[in-house]
């Protein structure tokens, strides 16, 4: 057979393919030291810190419940040391996303929200703020801290404010599926009509996090505003229920939030098909979900305090609070 240029080219091509596929494996087999360094990184040590000793028999707070019956910690002021948590968190190189909606007249709250969140929300850590709005031009240009980024995403609005509120779940769910699962590790959904007054730090980071509602934390479960009509998908039978969670601030790992928002929105659509709307809209669905998929961490009412309420002794710090507004005017 005559050697032709074609044959030579073909041989070179095949050799190239073998090299491309084979060399990485060969390198891996001979590189144990690299593997050692790799494992050392995942097992990095906390820096030396000085802090008071925790005592098993001297709890810092005796006036509140510190742990739920399924051993999820409830985060109150005085129960945690943020320095230790920061040291553990920094090792993991995580990015947190915050999803918030500024639709129709709620756009006016953006500036207050962003300026206070920029100062107090996970300060020093990487956060991506995602603001969904139907008026992107009305979002003020703000200078954020270097590790914080702002994304403005246009959405359509709906005529009824209840629909806007409930469709948030769907929008979050689809965005996780399309973008956020590649961009962030943890995701939190917050209302836009809030301001932060105190630091909210990495104590909120956990797989599935719910906030105990400031309106209903002392009520017995029969008096809670759960949806009770059995026709609704959000119904919770009487005799069941742990806490009443606020839909204004919840979150967790991206996969858990995806499951939560998908399940809640599925309930919302089924209710719509049956011509029923849950008592507190997506909050009722959220409560149903968190009853049967217990959160791994609970935030005390410090983490979402409603402005209209007087602060009792047990809520020592008001970290995030709703902004005073005229509901009638802003919703319609």
């Amino acid at each position: 057979m005559q050697i032709r240029k074609v044959h030579m080219l073909l041989v070179i091509l095949m050799a190239g393919i073998i090299v491309y596929f084979g060399i990485p494996h060969i390198i891996q087999t001979s590189c144990q030291l690299a593997g050692q360094a790799d494992l050392d990184e995942t097992f990095s040590v906390l820096p030396r810190m000085s802090y008071p000793q925790p005592f098993v028999d001297k709890p810092q707070r005796t006036d509140v419940l510190l742990m739920s019956p399924w051993l999820a910690p409830i985060v109150w002021e005085g129960t945690f040391n943020r320095d230790i948590l920061n040291a553990q968190y920094r090792q993991k190189n995580l990015i947190v996303g915050v999803a918030t909606f500024a639709v129709k007249k709620y756009v006016r709250f953006t500036e207050g929200f962003l300026s206070s969140a920029n100062k107090f929300f996970l300060s020093g850590h990487r956060v991506n703020f995602y603001i969904f709005t139907d008026h992107p031009e009305k979002i003020p240009l703000m200078k954020l801290a270097p590790e914080k980024r702002l994304f403005i995403i246009p959405i359509q609005n709906y005529s009824r404010w209840q629909d806007i509120s409930m469709n948030r779940m769907d929008i979050i769910s689809s965005h996780i599926h399309s973008h956020w699962r590649y961009e962030v590790d943890y995701l939190y959904s917050m209302d836009i009509d809030v301001q932060l007054f105190e630091h909210i730090g990495v104590e909120i980071i956990d797989t599935l996090v719910g906030t105990i509602s400031s309106w209903q934390y002392t009520k017995p479960r029969e008096n809670n505003s759960y949806e009770r009509r059995p026709e609704s998908q959000a119904t919770i039978p009487s005799g069941e229920g742990d806490f009443y969670y606020a839909a204004s601030f919840y979150g967790g790992s991206v996969s858990e939030v995806y499951k939560l928002t998908t399940a809640c929105f599925k309930g919302v659509t089924e209710d719509r098909a049956n011509g029923i709307e849950a008592k507190w809209h997506e909050e009722s669905h959220l409560n149903k979900y968190l009853l049967y998929h217990k959160p791994t961490r609970l935030l005390s009412p410090e983490y979402y305090w409603d402005e209209e309420l007087i602060r009792p002794h047990i809520v020592k710090v008001k970290r995030l609070s709703s902004v005073r507004k005229d509901l009638k005017e802003v919703r319609f």
Binding site: M1, H25, G35
Partner: protein, 300 residues
């Protein structure tokens, strides 16, 4: 051979090799190699493949095994340990017991519930009981790499000279679980029996420390326990190279590691009690505690 034949044979070789390489990559997925141990004549280095992803087993099929290190004379504790474990440990779930011993024949046959199994793992006997105690880390680590990581999801390492008195359930499961020592839960940290000599790798200075953890109970996800035992064994070897042995052997090293890599879940002293101490009111239930024994007679 003519040039033509050479080219043709190379061609065919390439055709065969390419699918093999592609198959290797697709089949094996990401490969991580475990590092060598510190060079030491007594321990041979191990290099294994360790798959990152494992299928998650749902309740009630989680395995919770317990490696137990046993010397000759400790074998008499096996019977009561196993009988009490059958009654109280993770009732209703699948459990594998791994008992490490240098004397496999002496292990009594205990009737186990269905869905539970017992394996006896032979180990070497060392001249000093302290040596056996410290070698636990290496032995557990090696066992995970060779056997357990394929068989179980969670692993607990418990001392054998103890007995269960009350239920021990899935509230104890977590990524990395440590138990607070019953003797030191209400004393200031300067009185913890940490290793205080700075030349040891297990050194913890006076002003530092959260809790004093018991060496008799630790556990968690298999991967975490693997990394933890590896790290402890490294520091134990480092101390050996410097000719120093920590005050409380591997318990000191365990405490050092739990100080810099905090456990995700802590068990109260209910889960590791000393029967010689009177029960205080805050310890409402004693779940797992020591059996009275004559230390002199057992250890040497």
């Amino acid at each position: 051979m003519t040039c033509g034949k050479v080219v043709k044979s190379v061609f065919i070789l390439c055709l065969i090799l390419i699918p093999i390489f592609i198959w290797m990559i697709v089949w094996n997925g990401p490969v991580r190699y475990l590092p060598y141990y510190l060079p030491c004549p007594e321990i041979f280095s191990m290099k294994l493949q360790y798959a990152e992803e494992k299928p998650v087993q749902l309740f009630p099929q989680l395995f919770y095994p317990q490696p137990r290190s046993l010397d000759q004379k400790y074998t008499k504790f096996v019977g009561p340990f196993l009988e009490s474990a059958e009654k109280f440990f993770m009732k209703g779930y699948r459990v594998n017991y791994y008992i490490f011993t240098n004397n496999p024949q002496v292990i009594p046959r205990v009737q186990l519930q269905p869905d539970r199994s017992l394996s006896i793992v032979p180990i070497k006997k060392y001249s000093h009981w302290q040596e056996t105690s410290m070698r636990r880390m290496e032995v557990i680590n090696r066992h995970i790499a060779e056997v357990s990581h394929q068989e179980v999801n969670y692993l607990f390492c418990l001392d054998i000279d103890m007995v269960f008195h009350n239920p021990w359930g899935v509230e104890t499961l977590g990524e990395m679980v440590a138990a607070i020592h019953s003797g030191y839960y209400n004393v200031p940290r300067s009185q913890f029996p940490y290793e205080r000599r700075s030349s040891s790798a297990a050194f913890i200075p006076d002003s530092q420390g959260d809790f004093y953890y018991a060496g008799a109970v630790f556990g968690g996800l298999v991967k975490q326990v693997y990394e933890f035992t590896r790290a402890c064994h490294m520091t134990i070897l480092a101390d050996k190279a410097n000719g120093i042995m920590a005050t409380w052997q591997e318990e000191s090293h365990l405490n050092r590691h739990f100080f810099s890599h905090k456990p995700s879940k802590l068990l109260s002293p209910e889960y590791v009690w000393d029967d010689t101490k009177p029960k205080p009111p805050e310890v409402r239930l004693i779940r797992f505690s020591t059996v009275d024994k004559n230390h002199k007679e057992i250890r040497d």
